[in-house]
């Protein structure tokens, strides 16, 4: 890494040694990737989404390859917040920045998880996974309904003093509107985008490739969409944005920074190369040095106009 470049960024009150996080659901609880990557080399990681109780996922097939991407319908299998605090966090090496992703089918579930995490010293902040269907609002995703999203963010902000990032769904007409709703309710930052709702069909079996039918598309296939949404959200709000969507290389990550993201999350790339996030962190610093930027933060929003 280029020693001359200052790589530190602040993501809504979460201080990161560099702007590269790994995305929730692609990095387990950290220990799965530890054999391949020094977790203190990256900015931090967002753990698998937590619910109040342990949760069993969907029946297989849960994943399938897609053009330049993959489909998944895991259904948020997780160990539950209690086991996360008791077993998973202590297993991590010192100096690893952990953001906890929280999830539920009604706002009270999110609040319950946040309250359990409040004051846990290893947790630097929470990320609200707003792509879950809100049971009481008729099953529409929190992230697709401005009123449900506002209620959710308000409830979580009341439940915790930790920095709160809201992870937005791309399956909306106006990402700017959703971003403004979160900012208005006091969110400390935004993470976008989550997977794009999608499906595929196996014609030989005349069935959907996933047992669940619908799934989330991730990987390089969604990167231009994600980049567009990050750029639009960055125009709409002043809270910091963490860009997510098909980042495979440092060059990809830099694009998100130039479009206004303060940090990025590497997701599907972790599967292909469990050392990808470290390589991307190094590459961003090298790019900044080559381009004459003394600080990585100076790249944020540095898109030149035509």
């Amino acid at each position: 890494m280029s020693a001359a470049v200052d790589t530190k960024v602040d993501l809504g009150g979460i201080s990161l040694r560099n702007p590269v996080l790994t995305a929730s659901g692609t990095f387990g609880y950290g220990t799965e990737l530890a054999p391949f990557l020094d977790l203190t080399r990256i900015g931090g990681f967002v753990a698998k989404s937590l619910t109040p109780q342990p949760r069993i996922g969907n029946p297989p097939p849960r994943i399938a390859e897609a053009p330049a991407g993959m489909l998944n319908a895991i259904s948020l299998e997780n160990v539950g917040v209690e086991a996360f605090v008791r077993d998973k966090l202590p297993a991590l090496p010192d100096g690893v920045t952990v953001i906890a992703s929280v999830f539920g089918t009604e706002p009270a579930h999110y609040a319950e998880v946040c309250k359990r995490l409040a004051g846990v010293p290893r947790v630097a902040g929470v990320e609200v996974n707003a792509s879950c269907p809100h049971v009481k609002a008729g099953g529409i995703e929190f992230g697709q309904d401005p009123r449900a999203l506002a209620e959710l963010v308000r409830t979580v902000k009341r439940a915790t003093g930790q920095p709160v990032l809201v992870k937005l769904s791309p399956n909306v007409t106006s990402i700017a509107e959703m971003a403004r709703v979160c900012e208005g309710e006091g969110a400390d930052g935004l993470s976008l985008v989550n997977a794009v709702q999608a499906m595929d069909v196996d014609v030989a079996r005349r069935r959907t490739v996933l047992r669940n039918g619908l799934g989330g598309l991730s990987g390089p296939a969604i990167r231009p969409i994600a980049l567009r949404m990050v750029w639009q959200a960055a125009q709409a709000v002043s809270i910091p944005i963490c860009g997510i969507g098909g980042i495979m290389t440092a060059e990809d990550a830099v694009k998100f920074l130039l479009c206004g993201a303060v940090a990025v999350q590497v997701g599907t790339a972790n599967y292909l190369d469990p050392a990808a996030a470290g390589r991307i962190a190094d590459g961003i610093a090298e790019y900044a040095a080559e381009q004459g930027f003394p600080r990585v933060i100076d790249l944020v929003g540095a898109l030149e106009s035509w």
Binding site: E32, R62, A68, E77, R211, G219, Y271
Partner: protein, 279 residues
């Protein structure tokens, strides 16, 4: 039932850029790939690797995107402290078609060794090793590792003589070997479960090991269960990472929850799997 002695824990996995030493067709769709891997920690029979052909350093290929799980067929030390890892594969889709294009001297990213190995039966136990299709590739190291006293018998099935993987290698191991082909082009005509049934009927078998298509492994498990014989299977599943992060490779368990094929398997005792729930 013979007790299974404890084995040393498998080595911690590595991520490395492996060098292709050889990559050739063995007739039909079967291929043999030899890789030179620096720092290879050594695998145990039943473990697998994830291979990303055409990727070194930065991820350069977006499509097909995901690495492919492959059994370690066998391995041996190579010059300069490296190891040579041998993989048998069949061209079945875009990933394996791409794999055929990796020429000697080129790099392939490898992550492994991954997963839980076959528990080795006690030396005195009598074992049957049953392979079908590409599942044969998971079993060579196991047959080598099983003690001579256990007199392992090998039963290999394929659609045709052309499809049968590594027949010569298995024959050279000097264990009793029965081959079945569905079209009768080699060995007995029919399915590999026929000689399995005959062997189990003798009443002297302690353990069955099986790897192949899911219907074949399920049939092996049911025959073994009916004979009161312990059976280990090595499952396949869609898998994005191979190390327990993506949670994609769920296999249903009788209790209603899921095991991960990559982390808890690929080797399972057959009774740990709810076979009806497999795709």
């Amino acid at each position: 039932m013979t007790s299974i002695p404890s084995q040393a824990a498998p080595a911690l996995a590595i991520r490395a850029d492996a060098e292709v030493v050889e990559n050739r067709s063995e007739g039909g769709a079967n291929h043999r790939l030899r890789l030179r891997v620096q720092g290879w920690p050594g695998s145990t029979p039943g473990q697998f690797v994830m291979l990303s052909p055409g990727s070194v350093g930065e991820v350069r290929r977006d499509d097909p995107l995901l690495p492919r799980p492959m059994a370690v067929y066998r391995e041996h030390p190579a010059a300069g402290g490296a190891a040579e890892v041998e993989i048998l594969y069949r061209v079945e889709g875009r990933g394996t078609a791409l794999l055929t294009e990796s020429a000697p001297g080129e790099a392939i990213r490898i992550v492994g060794p991954l997963g839980q190995p076959f528990p080795l039966a006690a030396a005195a136990a009598r074992c049957l090793v049953v392979g079908g299709g590409t599942g044969v590739a998971s079993l060579y190291g196991l047959v080598e590792a099983l003690a001579a006293e256990s007199r392992p018998e090998v039963l290999l099935g394929a659609r045709s003589a052309d499809d049968l993987m590594a027949h010569d290698d298995f024959a050279a191991l000097g264990r009793p070997l029965v081959v079945t082909t569905e079209d009768g082009s080699l060995g007995e005509t029919g399915l590999v479960t026929a000689p399995l049934e005959r062997a189990l009927a003798r009443g002297d078998v302690d353990t069955v090991y099986s790897c192949g298509p899911t219907p074949m492994m399920r049939a092996c498990a049911e025959l073994a269960a009916a004979a009161g014989v312990r059976c280990f299977v090595s499952l396949e599943n869609n898998m994005a990472c191979g190390f327990g992060a993506c949670l994609g490779c769920a296999a249903p368990r009788p209790a209603g929850d899921y095991a991960l094929v990559c982390r808890d398997g690929p080797v399972f005792e057959a009774s740990e799997i709810a076979w009806d729930g497999l795709p």
